[in-house]
């Protein structure tokens, strides 16, 4: 591949490395800056007097005797009870991923194995549903949920997030199942399996790579959602993202911005770990949709 003619001239190489370095800084610096600053006091985090304070932590050591402090984390997690939001997020994400994968796998498998005309229309409907901003549906939820008295609790939100997740899950799993040869389950059926037995004993053992990738994206959708969770959950059932948004309203007035900063860093950490372990799957998931779609 790298023949002599394909080698990059020096100036182009410098340009490329310079540009990529710039992009890496743009992409990563904000996170490191916020992580670093979350262990400081507000005066240091914001460059009110002198921006080098943020590096040396002068005001932090004036207040706490050391140049790092966990005051923001203590304030957010214990005083403002951010741990509740963390538990709620864990519950919501776990059930959303499990449910949407279970029903999405069945549906996606059926769509990929049925050659009838209605599968096309179902997929197009799913695409239209995917295109609609979730917030447009929220006003449709509120009235019935108030009537039935199910507003504000976690199960309602989980079901809604599962449903909003389905169009995307279906598209992704549909294209994944299409890449599994049809002969596999056809031959199982010839051997006397029912369609479900073929699915259970032949397809399930080989479907995990696609399902895990889809699960990652379902998780991200549930974890990152703000519009639905903030409208459908009551104050004490809030997940992390609406909780942080709620912090903003109160902390700007109370001068406790550092609580919000600590909460933001806490909520970003799991995503970092996720990318670290599943980088390849995320990349392959993004591109699988692109190549098929």
């Amino acid at each position: 591949m790298s023949s002599v003619a394909n080698r990059y001239p020096v100036h182009l190489k410098v340009l490329i490395y310079g540009f990529i370095t710039l992009w890496v800084i743009l992409a990563a610096f904000p996170f490191f800056w916020t992580l670093w600053g979350s262990f400081k006091v507000e005066l240091d985090f914001f460059s009110i007097a002198d921006w080098t304070n943020a590096l040396t932590g002068r005001n932090t050591s004036d207040t706490y005797g050391a140049s790092f402090t966990d005051a923001g984390y203590v304030g957010a997690w214990i005083q403002e009870e951010f741990w509740r939001a963390v538990i709620n997020t864990a519950i919501v994400c776990f059930f959303v991923v499990c449910t949407s994968l279970t029903i999405g796998t069945l549906g996606g498998y059926a769509l990929s194995r049925s050659g009838f005309r209605y599968t096309f229309w179902l997929l197009i409907t799913a695409l239209i549903f995917r295109a609609m901003p979730p917030i447009t549906l929220v006003s449709g939820y509120l009235l019935p949920f108030f009537e039935w008295n199910v507003w504000g609790i976690l199960p309602t939100t989980i079901i809604v997030l599962v449903a909003i997740n389905q169009p995307f899950t279906l598209w992704m799993l549909h294209s994944f199942f299409q890449s599994i040869p049809k002969d596999l389950d056809e031959s199982a059926k010839v051997d006397g399996c029912s369609q479900f037995q073929a699915f259970r004993f032949v397809i399930i053992p080989v479907m995990w790579p696609g399902v895990i990738t889809t699960g990652l994206f379902s998780f991200l959708l549930a974890y990152n959602d703000f519009a639905v969770t903030s409208m459908l959950l009551s104050d004490e059932n809030r997940t992390m993202v609406p909780k942080i948004a709620a912090f903003l309203g109160t902390t700007y007035t109370e001068g406790n911005v550092m609580f919000a900063v600590a909460a933001v860093v806490s909520a970003t950490a799991p995503l970092f770990i996720l990318v670290m372990f599943f980088q390849r799957r995320i990349v392959s998931g993004l591109t699988a949709g692109a190549v098929k779609g």
Binding site: V24, A27, I128, V283, T287
Partner: protein
Amino acid sequence: MKHSTFFWFFLPTGLAMLLFIAFPLVSVVLQSVHTPHEAVLVEVENCGPFGCKKVTTIDQDATRELRNSEPLGKFVGLDIYFDRGHLAITEVKTAWITSESWSGFFNKLGNLPFYRAIAFTLTFTFTVTPILIILGLTIALGVNALSERVKGLVIFVSLLPMIVTPLIGSLILFWMIDSRGILGTAIQWLAADPDLSLKASTGLTWLMLIIYGVWHSAPFAFVVFYAGLQTLPMDQIESARIDGASRWEQVRYVIVPHLMPLIMFVALIQLMDNFRVFEPIVGFNAEAHAQSLSWIIFNDLGGETRQLSAAATSSMLTIFGVAILLSPVLWRTWQDFKGKS
């Protein structure tokens, strides 16, 4: 697969989408043509020691009964669509008649909340999408030229802005670009204007949101294009080079056409996603200068009042906008489908 088997396999997911996407959609349509009942007023004559007075009071029982019997409210047709908070037909008409020039007309439109939101949403969608495609393509070409050892690290770092929760990502940038944050201070120093604040001007706020949008979505374009670059037809590149094509010409006439389907895909996904721009407005605390369609819906729904009808109408108009945006794609898919069968 038999129809009945398909039905049972598809039932759970179909039911979920029917109950929680299709039915709410119907409910949104219904709400958008209804308005909550006004309170039932009764005129009571209050007679005291100083004569009789006619007092209008709210008949609580009757009001409650009316609201319970018809929870949707009163049917008003398309009135909400045309009111001042939405399409504002009368205001637009007056603006059209009274203004002499186009700019005057658009200025008056800018005072109407819904048109302001449309202006921002469209500006955001149609500036962010092309910029992020170009940036993503440049990064992909750059990373493709890197040595294998650093590629993995660069891809890891590049994924971060995309994977991070939009609200959190915008907060992180907002704290830096705030007039007290490190970037904000740097900009003040560069512009030699200690009072410069990005939040204070509409133009700069829009610019800030657009930069955030590009930062957030460019990684997606990058990853897709990078994968596309791995399947480049090397013989075509080779023959282009033998024919004397410069590097730029190779990119322009071989690589970009090869990636064209992917570029269309990214454009489609990003048009849909950028059209729903919402979280950055909350994160950047930018409501005063920039409102999007999603933000208007959110704003109507929130707070004590919960104006469901107004929100439902905004939702319908937003869905209508998405439909227009999506129609070329749907049309092409339909053509493909007809061609196939």
